[in-house]
């Protein structure tokens, strides 16, 4: 019997060798049908079916990935059944353990003795040999190539016009660390990372509601980036999720590298300096927003979730507010609102008052300012402008430099330049104080985009203050408020938590009431399920009046 098998195997191998020889001879004479540097599109893959011949599939894949050296194509022969298989994966994108232990090993080594001699069917291999958890079938190359490039492993079987996609994604990623842009004292200290799956897990761990919806979309014609839209069914406003998803589906770009790019593509007002969706790297903040009835959009490769729809108060909320005592948190919030105003308008106000209305100041202060300004060469406007430019330069320099040098810059810039400029008689010490105070005020803002907005607003305020004094400042503030009132994100106004007056929405704005009083979700998001706390006596009444 054993000799028979040996002869059989020998003949098979000889046959194979002959076939290969014939192929080679054929290949020499075959016309080069395809040009070498052909460009491929996913649309084309849709019409390309998996061939029954393993070789044809391999040739096709090799042709697609001509200049891609990290694609690994491994041919396997199951000796027991004399069947040929082909495994394809991208080096570095896959978890080698899955490929080795759950794919190659069961097929090659753990073959049960009863299978000797008979040919295994495709279904058998799929169902009883491969021990990886996630497995899918595909007949066309569009899905196969996409999944291959996403980190999955492909398996082709000789004589089958289907391919198997074995879930084997696994690559080196950054470990979960503390948030860098939204630091906090109390509360959770984890943050999102660049891997979408990890981020979804971070949210799932906090929301174990079966109604948590995670809709996966792909954005980017070439990048095919995964985008997850996360929301709570039964809580979210009717139709909001659909409109967000439709908006994302309409996005037709080449590539998507960060969530902020998607944010700018789906926002309604393009020509404004005010951010229209909140960026956060904190899973707790994202979850709180989801519980309120908002949507978190996660993008693969970006450690920031985008929260929509957003309202103005969200930009001045820090997670800390919810983990400290409400009265203290209210005071801190009030400080932040004040700082927002200060950060945008303080230099402008200073220019306006000293240039136009010195009478508003107490005589001694007015005199003190005048004394420091006696020998100065520039008018206040120029002075403030110079110092503002200096601080902008320093901020930008401190941001771009490595951390160790960044500190040096801040010391050199802050102390040396500030002090030297005053001593050299270029600027007055009060201007230095004003500019420094403005910069520090802007750092209290928890959202970096809000910080950038106030920095941008500073210049128009300085110009308004220096041309029309206090009148200019107030008019500019009114114009900005009008502009902000007109901004809408997905049907929710920017100031909707302040207008119209609704007690339920005002509870979490400039002040934060104790959690025991926040029994309902904010009304501005029109949630389907309004109740937040069960022992709620006032859920039906108290709808909108103050």
């Amino acid at each position: 019997m054993a000799t028979m098998r040996k002869i059989e195997l020998y003949l098979y191998n000889v046959g194979n060798d002959c076939m290969r020889l014939i192929d080679k001879i054929k290949g020499v004479f075959r016309k080069k049908a395809v040009e070498k540097d052909k460009l491929f599109q996913y649309e084309e893959f849709k019409e390309r079916y998996v061939s029954k011949s393993l070789k044809e599939n391999r040739d096709y894949l090799q042709q697609v990935f001509t200049h891609t050296k990290d694609i690994i194509i491994r041919n396997i022969t199951i000796r027991a059944t004399k069947q040929n298989l082909m495994i394809v994966f991208v080096d570095g994108m896959v978890d080698r353990n899955v490929v080795n232990e759950h794919l190659i090993k069961p097929i090659l080594i753990d073959m049960a003795p009863e299978n000797y001699g008979r040919r295994l069917s495709f279904e058998e291999i799929r169902d009883s040999f491969i021990s990886a958890a996630e497995i899918k079938e595909a007949e066309t190359f569009d899905e196969l190539v996409l999944q291959l490039l996403s980190g999955d492993t492909l398996l082709f079987l000789e004589g089958q016009n289907r391919g198997l996609i074995i879930g084997s994604k696994g690559w080196e990623s950054r470990g979960i660390s503390e948030p860098t842009t939204e630091a906090n004292v109390q509360g959770p200290k984890d943050c999102f990372v660049e891997t979408l799956q990890n981020n979804i897990t971070s949210i799932r761990r906090r929301i174990r509601d079966p109604n948590l919806a995670i809709e996966m979309l792909k954005v980017g014609r070439r990048s095919k980036t995964d985008v997850a839209v996360v929301y709570l069914k039964g809580v979210i406003m009717d139709g909001l999720a659909q409109s967000v998803i439709e908006k994302i589906k309409k996005v037709d770009v080449d590539s998507l590298l960060d969530s902020s790019q998607l944010e700018y593509l789906i926002e309604e007002r393009k020509w404004t300096i005010f951010p229209q969706s909140v960026n956060t790297e904190r899973p707790d903040k994202a979850c709180a927003a989801i519980f309120e009835g908002r949507i978190a959009i996660l993008v693969d490769g970006s450690p920031f979730a985008v929260l929509v729809p957003s309202t103005f108060s969200m930009y001045l909320d820090a997670s800390d507010d919810y983990y400290t005592r409400p009265l203290v948190a209210s005071l801190v919030r009030f400080t932040r609102y004040f700082c927002y105003f200060l950060s945008a308008s303080l230099p402008g106000l200073y220019v306006a008052i000293t240039n136009f209305h010195p009478g508003m100041l107490p005589p001694r202060l007015a005199l003190a300012i005048t004394t420091t300004r006696v020998a100065l060469p520039f008018p206040t406007f120029v002075e403030v402008f110079i110092m503002e430019s200096v601080i902008e330069i320093m901020q930008e320099a401190g941001l771009r430099l490595p951390q160790a040098i960044g500190q040096t810059v801040s010391i050199v810039g802050g102390i040396v330049i500030g002090q030297a400029a005053v001593q050299a008689g270029l600027v007055s010490p009060i201007v230095t104080i004003i500019v420094a105070l403005t910069a520090i005020a802007s750092f209290t803002l928890p959202n970096y985009n809000a910080n950038l907005t106030t920095r941008t607003l500073r210049i128009p305020f300085i110009i308004a203050g220096s041309t029309f004094g206090f009148f200019g400042i107030v008019m500019l503030a009114l114009a900005i408020l009008s502009h902000m009132s007109a901004i809408e994100t997905f049907g929710v106004g920017y100031f909707e938590d302040f207008s119209p007056y609704r007690l339920r929405d005002l509870k979490d704005t400039m002040v934060k009431v104790p959690a025991s009083l926040m029994k309902d979700r904010p009304e501005l998001l029109k949630p389907q399920d309004t109740v937040r706390q069960v022992n709620n006596k006032s859920s039906g009444e108290n709808q909108d009046e103050k």
């Binding site: 508003m360 001694r364 004094g469 009148f471 008019m475 009132s485 007109a486 207008s499 119209p500």
Partner: protein, 369 residues
């Protein structure tokens, strides 16, 4: 996702308060003091009461003609010809009053704050910003009002509380010294201060539950009544009416006389300016809005068309023309008188007339049945 915007009931109060506070917050004490004594605040209360009745009339025909604003109702009740004439008169009154208010604003600003800045620059900026706010639509306007109202109320309360220390008790002597007649006569000029309540009829069609705005009408008219009465009362107490009749803008003088004891700011002018700018700004925004609705009712333009845009810009030209028309303060005073008379005719004539005609029509219908 684009739903039709609806106002919530509480917006009625905020719109009314914002709209009623007008330029007369500066001049009302003088106008009244020139005619009577300490009792002038009683006239303010009476005028307020009349305003309340008139606003409930407006509310009533707003309910009778659901979805129609004031100018459309005028067209329906008075017919094509008289109605068109009426709308013209209303438009002229609205834009004229706003133009005069703007003129007054520019003059006071030049007088007290920016002596070197040319008048036209102030006017252009004011019109530009308020037109921008109006052009953003009703939702934006309502949001703006809701944001600015707490600021305004805070400023007014501070400014009214500070002069209390300067009250001259001797001015309290001789209340009602001149009898009751001057008080009744003073009601009509006091009523001029409340014309802003007509905004009610323009926003009526946009309410989610028009039936439930009644109590907010009371609040919206009540708060301005209290504030106006308090201002008049305070001015009389501080200056006495002999002195006050000679002050051009008693409220400004009142506030400028304050020297804050705490040496943070020498004077509270900055608060006054902020208040004054907010008041005039909102006056312009709401005037643009109601006047635009007038034009829309008259020419039946559809939103978004070229005609519609044109009708918006026309408001600017008319308003600016009114602001630049008077050569000096005296001429301005004369024009203001004319507009006031027009306003009295419209408010006291048109509103009751609409109610009467509507009632007559209803009776006719019932008779036919």
């Amino acid at each position: 996702m684009k739903n039709k915007f609806e106002l919530s009931s509480i917006d009625m109060a905020t719109f009314l308060i914002m709209s009623i506070f007008g330029v007369r917050i500066l001049t009302l004490p003088r106008i009244l003091a020139a005619r009577m004594d300490l009792g002038s605040w009683v006239s303010v209360l009476m005028a307020g009461f009349i305003t309340l009745i008139l606003s409930f009339m407006m509310y009533w025909f707003g309910i009778k003609y659901p979805g129609k604003n004031g100018s459309e109702i005028v067209l329906i009740t008075f017919g094509k010809y008289i109605g068109t004439l009426g709308i013209f008169a209303i438009s002229i009154h609205i834009l004229g009053a706003a133009g005069m208010g703007l003129r007054l604003f520019g003059d006071t600003l030049k007088l007290y704050l920016l002596p070197e800045t040319p008048f036209y620059a102030i006017v252009i900026i004011m019109i530009g910003v308020s037109f921008y706010a109006f052009d953003n639509g009703l939702k934006s306007i309502s949001t703006l009002i809701n944001i600015l109202l707490p600021v305004l109320v805070l400023l007014i309360s501070i400014l009214l509380l500070l002069p209390i220390t300067k009250i001259d008790k001797t001015n309290l002597i001789n209340p009602f010294g001149l009898g009751v007649m001057p008080i009744i006569k003073g009601t009509i000029p006091a009523l001029d201060a409340f014309y802003g309540f007509t905004i009610l009829t323009y926003i009526m069609p946009y309410f989610k539950e028009p039936q439930s705005v009644k109590k907010w009408i009371v609040v919206g008219v009540g708060i301005p009544i209290i504030v106006y009465a308090a201002i008049v009362f305070l001015c009389v107490l501080v200056f006495g009416d002999d002195e006050m009749a000679w002050l051009l803008y008693p409220t400004i003088t009142l506030i400028k006389s304050i020297q804050v004891e705490v040496q943070l700011f020498e004077r509270v002018e900055s608060l006054l300016i902020t208040m004054w700018i907010i008041i005039v700004f909102m006056l312009l925004v709401l005037s643009f809005y109601s006047s635009y609705l007038n034009t829309r009712a008259l020419f039946k333009t559809k939103a978004g068309t070229l005609k519609d845009r044109f009708s918006r810009y026309v408001q600017i030209i008319v308003l600016a023309a009114f602001a630049f028309l008077p050569k000096d303060v005296i001429e301005q005073q004369i024009y203001r008188e004319y507009i006031q008379i027009l306003g009295r005719v419209l408010i006291l004539g048109f509103i009751p007339a609409i109610v009467m005609i509507t009632l007559l029509k209803e009776r006719k219908k019932k008779g036919e049945k």
